[in-house]
């Protein structure tokens, strides 16, 4: 709070006082008063006015500066009312009361939306579980009556399934911790599940698999990890080259981490797009070519990895390769925690 501004705000008072002085001078002159008396009066008046102004200024400055400072430093600025000292002037009290009412109505509205959002999420989760039933049914039908359905319809079903999974994990990524469970899991088992899941498409597209994953154990949630690797696999298949495609899966290890590397010799990613592939809704030039990219797959992967404490990186040279690396830290903390619970 600046004094100059405060003064400017009270310009009307200064004008009034000046006018008062003028009147007093006229009055004193009319009554032919003593000069010393006039000076004494003026000095007293002036001191009173200045004191009044200063008192008003400092009282308000204390309150407002406190408020401004706390609003600036709180990460949830709307909670500031709980943090400040109650002002001891009428205007401030009014101001606080109004702020309180505004806050209240805002919180009501936010919690209203929160409720709606949660309802929606619940509905989506339920819907996904429901939609999986006809999907299972269709998959079984296609398998049982090969004369009526061909491989193409199976691939389309797999696409639906994949999009449904994306929604499920998008809904899950920022909600309750109860949805995932970190455990010691076998990396090669997860890889094998994903490969088996994509078997038809891999065979159909004649993609060769080079798997060098040892029986590495990592700490993760197997379902989430399966989803993440499945997304990467889908990208490998989607952005393959016409001929001689392969996907190479390797696991490496050093002192602190286990690395899973998934590399393909597909069309790659433009250098300018590389840094943004994990951004939400980013489709880049690859996506625009094939027009089947939602730009959500890798974004969800990144978020899930963050939650699980893995690092996911992508490296690519256009027309040569794309390489995704997931880093699992060998955190002994998990191991110790598991041992403790076992004992």
């Amino acid at each position: 709070m600046k004094f100059k501004e405060h003064l400017k705000d009270r310009l009307y008072a200064l004008l009034l006082i000046s006018f008062l002085y003028l009147l007093l001078i006229l009055l004193f002159l009319a009554f032919k008063s003593n000069l010393q008396l006039i000076i004494a009066c003026f000095v007293l008046l002036t001191i009173t006015f200045i004191l009044l102004l200063l008192y008003d200024f400092f009282r308000k400055r204390k309150f407002y500066n406190d408020l401004i400072f706390k609003v600036g430093n709180l990460d949830k600025a709307y909670l500031v009312l709980e943090m400040i000292d109650k002002p001891r002037f009428y205007e401030g009290e009014l101001f606080c009361q109004i702020l309180y009412d505004i806050d209240k109505s805002m919180i009501e509205r936010v919690s209203n939306f929160e409720g709606q959002m949660n309802d929606f999420k619940e509905f989506i989760e339920m819907w996904i579980h429901e939609v999986k039933i006809p999907l299972s049914s269709l998959t079984l039908m296609a398998h049982n009556h090969k004369d009526k359905y061909d491989k193409k319809s199976l691939l389309q079903m797999k696409r639906i399934e994949n999009y449904v999974e994306q929604v499920l994990y998008y809904v899950r990524q920022d909600c309750a911790e109860s949805d995932y469970l970190i455990n010691k899991i076998n990396l090669s088992k997860v890889i094998s599940n994903v490969i088996l899941k994509n078997k038809d498409e891999l065979l159909e597209n004649k993609i060769e698999l080079l798997v060098e994953v040892k029986e590495k154990e990592v700490f993760s949630d197997s379902k989430w990890l399966e989803f993440i690797i499945n997304q990467i696999f889908n990208n490998c298949i989607k952005y393959k080259k016409e001929k001689n495609s392969f996907i190479k899966i390797q696991s490496l290890e050093d002192e602190n981490s286990v690395y899973l590397i998934i590399e393909d010799n597909g069309i790659g990613i433009k250098k300018s797009d590389l840094s943004r592939v994990f951004d939400k809704s980013f489709t880049g030039s690859n996506g625009r070519y094939s027009s089947r990219s939602t730009g959500m797959g890798l974004y969800i992967c990144k978020n899930l990895c963050k939650k699980l404490g893995h690092k996911i990186e992508i490296d690519s040279i256009q027309d040569e390769f794309t390489r995704v690396r997931i880093t699992f830290s060998k955190n002994n903390f998990y191991e110790e925690a598991l041992n403790v619970t076992k004992k």
Binding site: E130, K132, T139, M141
Partner: protein, 219 residues
């Protein structure tokens, strides 16, 4: 013939599961009313139960808990809920495996086969009085012996277990891939013809018949 008991509330899924398992050579029974599930299972005495977790008015996990008090029959839980904690919970209640919808039918058959194999005590079925050593990959007729590669052994083993029916190429492929042998279509054909030739060496003519458009059968 092994029997499988299906507990699934969705009629369409149920019917298709019935066809799938029947075609795969299982004696299959489906349950249509769910008032007395545990007793029904005990009465039928199946070799394996496929149990859906979400049946209206019924909690699959509770059924499993009650069943476990009275029987050790292998149970595979089937569900559209696919969180890790659901799986851990089911397994802790005594399920032998856990499969999420929508499943690949071949993978489902594979899992059923695996659970049955794990829980049954019977040995491998006999094939033309051959001496079969799965671990070493050696088959002998008493005089001569042949050594099979891992892939050939997987194929032979799968055909042997399913001797009574035709096995599709897709099934064989799934079995191979499940054993981390990611071979392609051509390689499968090559492996099968090599397996045929090797079996011929020990005097077995026409061991594997091709049924065009369907698959293979061990005769």
């Amino acid at each position: 013939m092994k029997s499988v008991f299906i507990i699934e509330d969705d009629i369409s899924v149920r019917e298709e599961l019935f066809i799938l398992l029947n075609n795969a050579g299982y004696n299959t029974k489906v349950l249509t009313t769910f008032d007395n599930v545990v007793q029904d299972i005990l009465d039928f005495k199946p070799d394996l139960v496929l149990l859906d977790i979400n049946i209206p008015g019924l909690n699959g996990e509770v059924v499993l808990l009650n069943l476990r008090k009275r029987s050790d029959v292998p149970v595979i839980m089937v569900t559209s809920r696919n969180t890790e904690s659901d799986e851990v919970l089911s397994m802790s209640y005594g399920a032998d495996d856990y499969i999420t919808k929508p499943y690949n039918p071949n993978v489902l058959l594979l899992r059923i086969g695996a659970v049955l194999k794990r829980t049954s005590t019977s040995n491998l079925p006999n094939y033309r009085d051959l001496d079969i050593n799965m671990q070493k990959g050696i088959i002998s007729n008493g005089k001569d012996e042949i050594i099979l590669t891992k892939n050939e052994m997987i194929i032979f083993n799968y055909l042997l277990i399913n001797q009574s029916r035709i096995v599709s190429r897709d099934e064989l492929m799934t079995e191979l891939w499940d054993n981390d042998e990611y071979i392609n279509d051509n390689a499968l054909s090559v492996n099968i013809s090599r397996l045929r030739n090797k079996l011929k060496e020990i005097g077995i003519e026409n061991p594997i018949e091709t049924r065009k458009g369907i698959g293979y059968i061990l005769t």
